[in-house]
Chain length 153, copies 2
DNA sequence: ATACGGCTTCCCATTATGGTAAGGTCAAGG
DNA sequence: CCTTGACCTTACCATAATGGGAAGCCGTAT
């Protein structure tokens, strides 16, 4: 199997297969006399493993650990589970962050009438606190939209 | 105000302020005789605008549009609202993707007993379909864990 | 033999951010 | 007047994972 076939069979692009080899995520592939990379079904299976792991959001670094456990017949499933739950935790943290952004944005968008007029509570909020104080819901107390600010990175 | 003070006042690091200037997100800052950048309160306000927009997940490219609308007194709030709702849509799409990953992972993690034994349905799934078929819940029909595979990018 | 498609390597670009190094500047204190 | 420390300047490098392209070799089918 050459790299193109391995790519099709595994769902990992040829470009990425070479990349994974270059960073030593996968072992150096064998070569034909003319220099073409050759892949065995076993290696394709490993690529598919990587592909699936990527689909679950694991970083290449984590996949390295997953692969090590995969190969290790004496592994403890607890170690695998920990990687999985850590991954879940990380994803959930990001989801919470994004959900907070969504909530704030929806709040602002709801307050914006979205018509031809220039007054816009979204810009008013972004443009430093609530200085313009214009809100399309014609009669609303001057109470500022409570925007949540958070900083993750 | 020099760049350090502007950074502190706006929440944007000095490094990023220079970067934003280099990519022309913000206008070229004034300079003192000795070459130090100088910032007026107006410019700090713009930096704060950028900072808040970043906090809401807007890309620099989108912020460029937001800033243009911010400056444009004849803007239509509909345009601003569209940027906001597009942003919401993008965030929600990502959240859905990550939620799908989380669901799959939790499913797998729940099936893994996480003890000293090496058998692990997580690895079994990642390592190509369900070939080992080992599941810690001692008695479970051979029915494979229904893993959702998806590809977004 | 010739052409087309696949392979090889090498380099570049992306996004937004941080780090570091070498050197100029400013203000305070001796 | 000189030193010191904090701050500024530019320039370069690095990150994570992926795609794109060029230049050149290889293999197979006509």
């Amino acid at each position: 199997m050459n790299i193109g076939e391995a790519a099709k069979a595994s769902g990992v692009s040829a470009k990425m297969i070479r990349y994974y080899e270059s960073i030593r995520l996968i072992p150096t592939a064998g070569r034909t006399g003319s220099g073409y990379r050759v892949y065995s079904p076993t290696e394709v299976q490993m690529l598919r493993f990587i592909r699936r792991s990527r689909d679950l959001g694991f970083s290449v670094e984590k996949i390295e650990e997953l692969l090590a456990l995969w190969r290790d017949r004496t592994r403890q499933s607890a170690d695998v589970k920990r990687l999985a739950t850590d991954q879940i935790d990380g994803l959930e943290r990001k989801v919470r962050e994004m959900q907070a952004m969504i909530d704030t944005l929806r709040h602002l968008a709801d307050a914006c009438c979205g018509d031809h007029r220039p007054d816009c509570p979204i810009l008013a909020d972004l443009g430093h606190g609530v200085e313009h104080g214009s809100d399309c819901t014609t009669q609303q107390s001057g109470k500022a939209v409570p925007v949540q600010h958070f900083h993750s990175r």
